[in-house]
Symmetry: C2
Subunit: 409 residues, 2 copies
């Protein structure tokens, strides 16, 4: 298991900056640049929402045209630049153009990301100031850069991991924001991951797709999906370590999987009003797809999330959610365990609360003790196949309602 | 438009009773019987959840075996008798048998419904007392009967409508409980509808299926689906009015549609912690199915429901929810209007807040005035087809979390 660091040391050939461009009223960091000294092989995974923000449309276009020569990513907060029509697309393009200008690269070598309220136009004067300040302050302050992409996040979320090839060792580093929902206030989950390893375009896209499927696509907070969700991977090869053999590809994938899983879990932990971190492990489902459908349905169930918040071991809500997931499920074949903590291995030793279509004779007090913990793991054994999936989710609290009831004002 | 009464006068040949059997601690009504003097043609619509409660399994079996000779429905609260295995099925059977015994009918002429916590066995001694008390107090107190099926509902929900055939006039009357969620605390939506009109089995099943599709299946509170959801229609023909011609079938359908729509809306209005009643009208979608998918997704969106609660005209969340509904949707072709009140006709004159992929230049103050109303109607024009659907939903409040965070204790 690759060791994840919660900090980022220098990644060869990458410079970053997080600045206050005047977008946020309180003087907080609100604009950032991630820049590579040389062309990067770049991969992207974007929201599946049919309503796609201007920056998403622009980045998708650029990654189709030149996935092997991207140099920079500019990110703004406050405005998501979504549902902004032709003007919004022009603003996204000129944001990229201004950044390219300041960095001495071609306009189509810059990508953009936006997060914030949708339906508002980018304040281009402030974006210009952000570009000017950030490009003049490039360095290795990844924490400030992670802070500069936050919306209602309470803390910057970043991490890194190391790997090696025959040529030497490399670093993979990433920042993420989310504010606890996959689609916080439509303010989106954004992540930029960089590596100084050498990859080709196909390898990068495949690796990011696999990593996202088992990390960012496995967290559920409210089931909503943003107009702006974006995950980018930039590889510049500056470490001199090139991923070429199958073993090296496997090691890189393992490291990227572990880093994205860590970042995804950080998003859940820092959720709006979140008081409980819940791991849902679905095993022995008819297929992996069924296991994921069941986990996602349980994770998105308001009744289940309310029970987590109330520290109520309401297994009935979990089983009933599984029953409506649109997957093969038979309660008479299923069993459910709960254990404190996040270590999935513990589940095997967890408290069995449901089995063979009925509750076990477990002691409520014992279950209540587990449910009172800040983190717990449920293992739902469907007893019908070999499919499995793990979902990370959280409870829903009064604070969530407060935060989201009146976000725009 | 048939006129709905919020009360129920006598329905020929039907007697009812709601009593306190000792199931609820506070002495409230908790057990009920609905009884016909003669055999009834009976139709049922049941939960699609793969986890079905014992009473649902028993009723489904009985309606397959003898849909033309049902005489009674016994309903208990407190225990849902779901996830209770073989013992639960036996308890459901003996509840029916005790009721049949007391009423002098055959055991397989009685149906049962249960609502409450799942995973607990029926307290058969109290069920026996309920049967004894209710069968000894049969009359026309429909309000008490509606009160006796409530869980966290705040008020009994009942209604009736009249119709006529060449032979004379008939009444359709119904009671419902829901507590605001389609699956309140897994405590279920239950409804019993009776009519003294004459119908054949195929007509009854078809009419109930159609009526449910445009009423109980069009309300969204938290998107959860119960293990016990049940809607029953009993027709005993005692009015002498028999539905036979196509015109008579159409009039009966219209009356049943209107009554079930009224009862479904009552469920939403009486929702747990509900402060806003919201009508979502989706028009010009690619198909009726797409329109319903879009409406259901908007209605179940936590972000959207939080915005309703906060009186925030957050059209972005509504459009984004439509974009992830799995239906054909193009924001550039869509427009969104909001109007105060529940009258769908008003929508045409409502305030347009989104059009052609962008917000209109509406005044936030004007939108805020509408959002501050206890009821409002959104009309989403997808601009791509002829499909439409209307969904009734509500906001999510702090109180919802409180009620559901700690239901079982």
């Amino acid at each position: 298991m690759p060791k994840i660091s919660s900090t980022i040391d220098a990644v060869a050939g990458f410079q970053v900056a997080g600045v206050h461009a005047g977008l946020k009223k309180d003087g907080a960091l609100d604009f950032s640049l991630v820049v590579s000294d040389v062309d990067c092989v770049t991969a992207g995974v974007f929201t599946r929402n049919k309503v796609k923000a201007a920056p998403v449309l622009l980045d998708m276009e650029r990654l189709t045209q030149n996935p092997d020569r991207i140099r920079a990513v500019a990110t703004n907060t406050i405005s998501a630049n979504a549902c902004t029509g032709r003007v919004g697309l022009e603003n996204a393009r000129s944001t990229a153009a201004m950044a390219a200008d300041a960095l001495g690269i071609a306009a189509d070598q810059a990508l953009v990301m936006s997060t914030g309220v949708i339906g508002t136009h980018l304040p281009m004067d402030k974006i210009a100031r952000g570009v000017k300040l950030a490009s003049a302050n490039l360095g290795a302050d990844w924490r400030a850069t992670a802070a500069a992409i936050m919306t209602t996040d309470t803390r910057p979320k970043l991490g890194s991991v190391k790997g090696k090839t025959a040529d030497g060792s490399y670093t993979i580093a990433g920042i993420v924001k989310g504010a606890g929902m996959i689609a916080p206030n439509m303010a989106t989950m954004l992540s930029v991951i960089v590596t100084d390893a050498g990859l080709d375009v196909a390898e990068a896209q495949d690796a990011l797709r696999r990593a996202t499927a088992q990390s960012f696509n496995r967290i559920v907070v409210d089931g909503d999906t943003s107009t702006n969700d974006t995950v980018l991977l930039l590889a510049n090869g500056m470490s001199g370590a090139t991923v070429s053999s199958d073993d090296e590809r496997a090691e890189f994938q393992g490291a990227l999987d572990a880093l994205t899983r860590y970042l995804a879990q950080e998003v859940v932990r820092d959720g709006e009003g979140v008081t409980k971190f819940v791991t849902l492990e679905v095993i022995k489902a008819a297929s992996d797809g069924d296991a994921e459908r069941i986990g996602q349905t349980i994770g998105a169930s308001l009744l289940t999330k309310s029970a987590f918040y109330g520290s109520d071991a309401n297994w009935g809500r979990i089983v009933a959610a599984a029953g409506r997931a649109g997957a093969a499920f038979d309660p008479d074949c299923a069993s459910l365990r709960v254990a404190a903590g996040e270590d999935r291995a513990q589940d095997r030793a967890g408290l069995e609360i449901f089995s063979g279509g009925m509750p076990t004779d477990y002691q409520e007090a014992e279950a209540a003790d587990i449910m009172a913990q800040p983190s717990m793991t449920f293992t739902l054994d469907c007893g019908i196949g070999a499919g499995q999936a793990t979902i990370w989710t959280c409870d829903i609290s009064h604070e969530y309602i407060s935060i989201n009831g009146d976000y725009r004002s």
